[in-house]
Homo-oligomer: 418 residues x 2
């Protein structure tokens, strides 16, 4: 696969995140328009609702784009996903007969506001990055007991809060919570002092299921991927999480990037999971390359300061693919729905510079991180802006994700005052 | 408060679960009708959609009853909840001028099929019954360490799967899962051998919130209550639940009773939480009686056998009220939505006969339970029917919940065969 040429000039750059090869799906609005579906091409957005209204796109199923979510398209299933992608490719290709009709349906991304690209049905967050699990386990239990006994056998995860998922650009308010340090006599209710990111990739379920599904079926059911920052209040988490798992520590916000990058766009970047230390049971075994080679990066920008890259890693560091996670999610018969979002778990590489959370980067606050500005960080400070970036690098082209950005506002003085 | 008389004769019985004092909300259908909203009165259902169409009920907000869920009414807020209850009370009271118009809008419950009464936005399950937490903790960690350190300070809970919530009467298929006993060399994938119930009461969020709310605000936002059976695969749970909490063990199904009993109907039965062993922090402190005196019962009926009562307890055994749980749920800023369902946690009393799960009743399978038929049970066997029952007993009247029933079907031979 090489760069596919478009008549939208800005898309024909080897480093542009949104070439014709990508065609990621988002929801946008311009001025007072109602948010609706569009696809990114170069610096522009192609207005799918306008294309549908004019007849330029017709999936034969009635109107599906003049709504502020992609769930209706997801529900159509894989054949229609392929049909839509083929049609968009034809319309936007260099030399397309549709260029004249389509060119008035382009909007500059710089003029648009991006919204949540889909309705999140339910949100599950996994813990399937081995370096992350090992690092966190080492800090809490020592290196001998770092990985929980089940870790190499199932992609462990917990259910998160769909209501807290927000789109890139949404400010995140530092939460209050109940805290108790190991040496405190009693807990107290106070603002979180150890607010953190988690660098993740989110998989979006496109096709619903109602019973156990295989890893291959799970891969088939996934619609696409986004970058995902699972904001985490480490001090709230430490006090609340035993024995039932993370709860309020993860419920303030989870930010996703605005563009759904489809499985089709990522296909050339499929790669295998790492070698297994123990054989998986049959129902979770790999049956093809279902991870993706996606370069990932985290930056931190203090208020008024410059941006520092604080971590670089790759999605292929995961021990379990999203398909394996989804298959495991269904083993008990759990119904999965269109719009379910699965967080990969924090993606950390083997080196210090490739760790996907401040908890790991500062080793629990013991090794402060130096920023370009000379400032240091253990955890996030007020008005810091954190950005996740992701891109798969092909032969002369890039499949970019669009940044996943969030600025952390100071905690309220009194969270109950309105 | 005494029994309020209705012109629907069957409602005027001191032991009937659905007198005029109750008026619980459900979704029903008769033959091929689309499911829509109705209210139980005696042995009948008053068809709210028909009443709305004829103008007998008019909340001034357009049509809200001709849909298969009560969420639209919930979203209207507490003033409209009170207005609706007052209007229904007027229509169905003895001597009502509306009797002639309303009598054709009654359907016999025996002719109706009940459906899920509301759309579950998200589902959270708490662990807020002290006897249950103490019993389970004692089995796993000994009586000295039975309660986790945070337990007396916050109502701990975890997010469950809304997609798995079903209405009473739905069969539940015994799940498969990954299992590993403490003496097994490796895990295996097999049908659950320790399938269990959890006797709970579910609180339904009526009014949404978007930031921390007080206990009083939380109580105000609750629309009503249902009985809730959180089916639990104890062997799957034992292997998966550390460190992230219950996941697939709780995702097969959660069954709720078909009628939403409103807060208004339960008001006469409000009672205080038990004496606190340690003082709660201000934001979680009790600010009025927010538990309810509701007698609860669990029965088990083997296929073809007779029903045995295996547990009797009361909702007032909880350590935390649903209002305290909801308030805690919002501390981090977590948005809560209309239709969010909060499970109380298993409700066990102090005596052996008042334990709300088979895990406790059989003490981890070591003390088999004797049934009326002479059979014994450690956990649920195939084709057993489990029923939760609940009723608040007033002065000459009863506020009943309608049974919460589920029959457990055998596991599939091969869960991946279709």
């Amino acid at each position: 696969m090489t760069l596919m040429k478009s008549w939208v000039d800005s898309a024909n750059d080897a480093n542009h995140p949104f070439p014709l090869n990508n065609l990621p799906y988002g929801v946008f609005s311009v001025s007072d328009d109602d948010p609706h579906c569009g696809v990114a091409i170069g610096d522009m957005i192609f207005d799918c609702a306008a294309a549908e209204e004019s007849g330029l796109i017709d999936l034969g199923v009635g109107s599906v784009f003049d709504v502020p979510f992609w769930n209706e398209v997801m529900e159509l299933g894989a054949d229609k996903w392929a049909e839509l992608r083929a049609r968009l490719t034809a319309i936007l290709s260099e030399g397309s007969a549709d260029q004249d009709a389509a060119k008035d349906m382009l909007v500059a991304q710089s003029d648009a506001t991006m919204h949540m690209p889909f309705l999140v049905s339910e949100y599950t967050d996994f813990y399937a990055g081995k370096n992350h699990a090992f690092n966190v386990g080492t800090m809490f239990r020592g290196p001998e007991n770092a990985l929980p006994p089940n870790w190499l056998h199932i992609p462990i995860g917990y259910n998160g809060r769909a209501s807290s998922v927000v789109v890139s650009g949404t400010d995140v308010r530092r939460p209050w919570g109940q805290l108790k340090g190991p040496n405190d006599a009693a807990p107290r209710f106070a603002p979180c002092a150890r607010f953190d990111i988690e660098l993740e990739v989110g998989a979006i379920v496109g096709t619903a299921s109602d019973g156990p599904i295989t890893v291959q079926e799970a891969d088939d059911n996934i619609f696409g991927y986004v970058l995902l920052n699972d904001w985490s209040a480490r001090d709230i988490q430490a006090w609340e999480y035993q024995p039932l798992g993370p709860f309020q520590a993860k419920a303030t916000a989870t930010t996703i990037s605005p563009w759904i990058v489809t499985k089709a766009a990522l296909n050339p970047f499929r790669c295998d999971t790492p070698a297994r230390e123990v054989e998986l049971l049959d129902h979770l075994k790999d049956c093809g390359p279902m991870l993706y080679d996606i370069d990932l990066e985290v930056t931190l920008r203090p208020e008024g300061g410059s941006e520092s890259t604080i971590a670089r890693t790759n999605y292929k560091e995961m021990y379990y693919s999203a398909a394996q996670q989804l298959a495991h999610h269904t083993t008990s018969g759990c119904p999965m729905n269109t719009g379910d979002l699965l967080g990969s778990g924090t993606i950390s590489g083997p080196t210090k510079e490739s760790r996907g959370s401040l908890l790991e980067l500062s080793w629990g606050g013991k090794e402060p991180l130096e920023l370009a500005s000379g400032e240091t960080r253990n955890f996030i400070e007020d008005n810091d802006t954190l950005t996740l970036k992701g891109a798969a690098k092909g032969d002369g082209y890039t499949i970019g994700f669009g940044d996943c950005v969030g600025k952390v506002l100071p905690a309220l003085d009194d969270p109950y005052k309105r």
